[in-house]
């Protein structure tokens, strides 16, 4: 066996985005030694791209806001499929997590009285998103990064070494999570990773592993996600015994760039609409007024006049339908384009130029202005943008305990951030992800530290290690296989076409068949070159994970026979209260993936009381309503 670098840590965090860094900070503050591993450089994780803001009901702009309203909005946005307990914790703890960022040096935009300013966003009743222009994710990841440095400086003072208890391993990708062979009591033993620069392997032995690997959007051709989003965390959780849930729910963000082709999918932040941008079709009509669904009728304006008044007087007017939850807007755009009322490059128009003065646009949306100017030669202060749906976020993810973020089915494994499932139900509200990362990142860090105290430090067996290394090196020995680039492009095309924004049974079945073909193609992938910084090899290691996750998406999409949030079935167009009662759980059984229905826990009467009955009756079955009624009385 080749000599490899070995480390022992209390907690290994896979992922250096918002969730991973927040978890690492917490575990370190609880006195544990922590390693943070990431595929790209420190500070470059996906979180850096988030634009709009962090949702937290601080009530700085409208003091009617509080955690209960935020909780309600989150449940509504997720079509009541959310893990209510997570939604509750999230809404309650988000403000503290944002304030904490400020005490670590974050500089949010301010209100007149010096507090953190908050902006409007789709699905949020009040201005709720703490932000910095349209680069909030950058502020967040930089602040967390700098907090880690601050902790390292403290360690250095105490021990002489920056890396005494908290160490970042950047460009160090994990391929495998090891479990101990204790049968029923099997638990996490460590992870195998390789340095991208050198291609050398590193073994980390640790009692707890926190997954914070983000999403899966790279399975799609048109996506706002980067190469990192191959669903590694999802796949590795399955492989080591964890469950995935609700993988059919993918958020297609309504506004991605559509032109030029090479930037198709790159995100146009929702703040454009929150700050006054409107959507029109080729006939110049503000078509969103035609798409307000029944359940939201009482919450959105029905005339342009009222919608326009809302920007200045939100207390006495209803909000414009451009700010409906993302799934609604994405479907509406899709329908308009299909009906032949699209823009020249197959999107619709999004216009702020006629609504705000140029200098305000540049102040509020600087990076959007920049992005369109430099990538598309469009000056958004003068012309409308062309936009269309783009794969953006996965609501589904690793099934976890709501309070501790411990993965169900794999002891010692935790998951937080986009890789975790449950909080967002069938559709995530904008801004709820960044707050999710902070709230549950912290919880994962805290409870993983507690878990470490209850177990002995584990070891990884040489046999397991050898097997994992052999697997990772296989692409070099395949004699005459295919290059991974072609396979990935085909997979992305396939998923876009067959398990995209609108789905039907026949297409998903076809997708599942294709996935089997991909398995064969991937079995003998071949890479050229050596092990030092070889992106071809890196891709070959990511691809099987990406395929496994794609399979989970397709399987779940086939199983759920209704349309809800980020899952739209042409053959089952309505929302069905019977289906709301279930989560779809995926579990690996040997080489196969099994799927089964699991009942959703019933919301507590206290939380249910936050909604009026008329509203609940739109989502819940008669039985559920009556059992709730009994609970409250």
């Amino acid at each position: 066996m080749e000599q490899i670098e070995r480390y022992k840590f209390d907690v290994v965090v896979i992922g250096a985005g918002g969730a991973g860094l927040r978890a690492a900070i917490e575990a370190r503050e609880k006195g544990k030694t922590v390693a943070v591993l990431s595929k790209s450089l420190f500070g470059k994780a996906h979180t850096v791209m988030a634009e709009g803001g962090i949702a937290a009901s601080m009530g700085n702009v409208n003091d009617k806001d509080n955690w209960m309203v935020h909780f309600g909005d989150t449940m509504r946005g997720g079509k009541f499929l959310n893990q209510f307990r997570m939604a509750e914790l999230h809404a309650k703890e988000a403000p503290d997590r944002v304030w904490e960022l400020e005490s670590w040096g974050a500089l949010f935009d301010r209100t007149k009285d010096g507090k953190i300013s908050q902006r409007n966003f789709g699905g949020h009743e009040y201005p709720r998103l703490a932000h910095v222009g349209d680069r909030t994710g950058l502020e967040m990841i930089r602040t967390l990064q700098q907090r880690i440095v601050a902790l390292q400086q403290i360690d250095k003072k105490a021990s002489g070494s920056y890396e005494e208890s908290l160490r970042i391993f950047a460009e160090c990708s994990v391929t495998k999570i090891f479990m101990t062979d204790e049968g029923e009591n099997s638990r996490v033993a460590g992870v195998l990773a390789y340095w991208r620069p050198s291609g050398k392997f590193v073994l980390f032995e640790s009692s707890a592993v926190i997954l914070a690997t983000g999403g899966i959007g790279k399975s799609y051709k048109v996506t706002s996600n980067s190469w990192e989003y191959t669903g590694d965390g999802h796949a590795m959780a399955l492989e080591c015994g964890g469950n995935l849930m609700n993988m059919e729910f993918l958020q297609f963000h309504p506004t991605g760039m559509v032109w030029p082709l090479s930037v198709k999918g790159i995100l146009v932040t929702e703040s454009v609409r929150g700050d006054g941008g409107v959507l029109t079709n080729s006939e110049g009509r503000r078509f969103m007024f035609d798409y307000i669904p029944e359940v939201f009728k009482s919450k959105y304006a029905t005339t342009e006049e009222e919608a326009d008044r809302w920007y200045t007087d939100p207390d006495n007017n209803l909000r414009p339908p451009e700010l409906l939850p993302r799934d609604e807007v994405a479907r509406a755009i899709n329908t308009e384009v299909k009906a032949g009322r699209g823009s020249p490059h197959g999107g619709v128009f999004l216009d702020v130029s006629k609504r705000l003065p140029a200098d305000v646009i540049k102040a509020k949306l600087p990076s959007m202005w920049h992005q369109f100017k430099e990538l598309a030669d469009v000056d958004i202060t003068l012309e409308p943008m062309e936009v269309g749906p783009t794969c953006h976020y996965v609501m589904g993810g690793v099934e976890v305990d709501a309070d501790t973020q411990a993965a169900i089915g794999a002891r010692g494994l935790f998951a937080a951030g986009e890789v975790g499932g449950g909080l967002h139900g069938s559709n995530r509200l904008g801004g709820n992800s960044l707050s999710d990362l902070l709230v549950f990142g912290r919880r994962a860090g805290m409870y993983s530290a507690d878990f470490v105290d209850t177990v002995e430090a584990p070891t990884v067996s040489d046999a397991d290690l050898q097997e994992a290394i052999d697997w990772a090196l296989a692409p070099f020995t395949n004699e005459d296989g295919e290059s991974p680039y072609g396979i990935q492009a085909d997979l992305q095309d396939m998923m876009n076409a067959l398990v995209g924004i609108i789905r039907t049974e026949s297409e998903i079945v076809e997708a599942l068949a294709k996935i089997e073909e991909f398995k064969v193609r991937m079995a003998n992938m071949k890479v050229m070159g050596g092990r030092g910084y070889n992106p071809g090899w890196h891709l070959a290691l990511d691809l099987p994970k990406q395929l496994l996750v794609s399979q989970c998406v397709a399987l779940s999409a086939l199983t759920r026979q209704e349309s809800r949030g980020g899952h739209t079935r042409e053959d089952f167009p309505g929302m069905d209260p019977e289906w709301r009662k279930f989560n779809l759980i995926l579990r690996a059984e040997g080489q196969n993936v099994e799927i089964f229905k699991q009942s959703l826990p019933m919301m507590t009467p206290e939380l249910a009381a936050l909604f009026d009955e008329g509203e609940l009756s739109k989502y819940m079955t008669e039985e559920e309503l009556s059992s709730l009624a009994q609970g409250t009385s």
């Binding site: 070995r6 022992k8 890396e163 340095w195 050198s198 050398k200």
Partner: protein, 268 residues
């Protein structure tokens, strides 16, 4: 944390990419430094000649900015009201005062950029390697003296006042009667204006106005001042060039008038 390091480090031996050529830039990066050298050298040549010429700097009511204020007894009659230096100074009176504007411009943040790039070639342009084997920048003597810029800035303000005064007294005719205006008046007025703009847009000025504050909100007036200077500041390089050439042209105009080569045209 414990570790056993079988392989010493993550990255291979750190060496820069050996690319050989000094730059791969394909544009005319040498143009700017070349132009800078040409203009600055011309100015230096002209101003040195004029400083030593010690003549043709005054023609009622115009005084050349090179010679104002004229501080030595040797100043031509009428060019100065007070002559604090006295008669021991036998060189050109210009040399007495040119030191200040010279120091001001030498330590100016913009001129520093200009001469470091063009004369010193460190670097001649971005992404073009400099020819020196050692570099310590402004971290030691003598270049550390550039930190005295603020004093030259204050001195510059005094000169601005004097030159403004010169422009104002140029609203007289050759007999000293007020209420007249000539091309010479205009020349001196423009000269003074650009010198003011140059000084006001100065980085030290910006700092003194409010840049050094931590809380703008506690000093609303200084914040206004800072905002104003901050608006001018991006144009500082432009004002630096215009005012430099302006001073030379103003001097040239006065010289031509004083030497009788042209007559100062009066509008009224």
């Amino acid at each position: 944390m414990s570790s056993s390091l079988d392989t010493p480090s993550a990255a291979p031996i750190p060496t820069k990419a050996k690319i050989g050529v000094r730059t791969l830039r394909t544009d005319r990066w040498w143009l700017m430094p070349a132009v800078t050298v040409a203009v600055l050298l011309s100015f230096i040549a002209y101003s040195t000649w004029r400083a030593f010429e010690n003549a043709y700097y005054f023609s009622e009511p115009l005084i050349s900015p090179f010679y104002s204020p004229c501080l030595a007894t040797s100043c031509v009659e009428g060019s100065s009201q007070w002559m604090p230096i006295g008669s021991w100074w036998i060189l050109s009176p210009a040399l007495l005062i040119l030191a200040f504007p010279l120091g001001f411009r030498l330590t100016c943040y913009y001129y520093r950029k200009a001469y470091f790039r063009s004369f010193w070639m460190s670097p001649p342009a971005c992404g073009v390697s400099e020819p020196h084997t050692k570099y310590t920048g402004e971290s030691r003597f003598p270049l550390i003296l550039n930190n005295s810029h603020r004093y030259f800035f204050y001195a510059g303000l005094v000169f601005n006042v004097l030159l403004t005064y010169d422009a104002i007294i140029a609203f007289r005719n050759a007999e000293g009667a007020w209420g007249h205006m000539s091309i010479g008046t205009l020349v001196l007025l423009l000269n003074a204006t650009f010198l003011w703009l140059y000084s006001l847009s100065c980085h030290s000025c910006r700092h003194a106005m409010g840049g050094r504050l931590k809380h703008f909100s506690k000093h609303p007036v200084r914040y206004k001042g800072w905002t104003f200077v901050s608006k001018l500041n991006p144009y500082h390089p432009r004002f630096a060039w215009i005012s430099l050439i302006g001073v030379a042209l103003a001097d040239l105009y006065v010289r031509q008038v004083a030497s009788g080569a042209i007559t100062n045209f009066y509008f009224f």
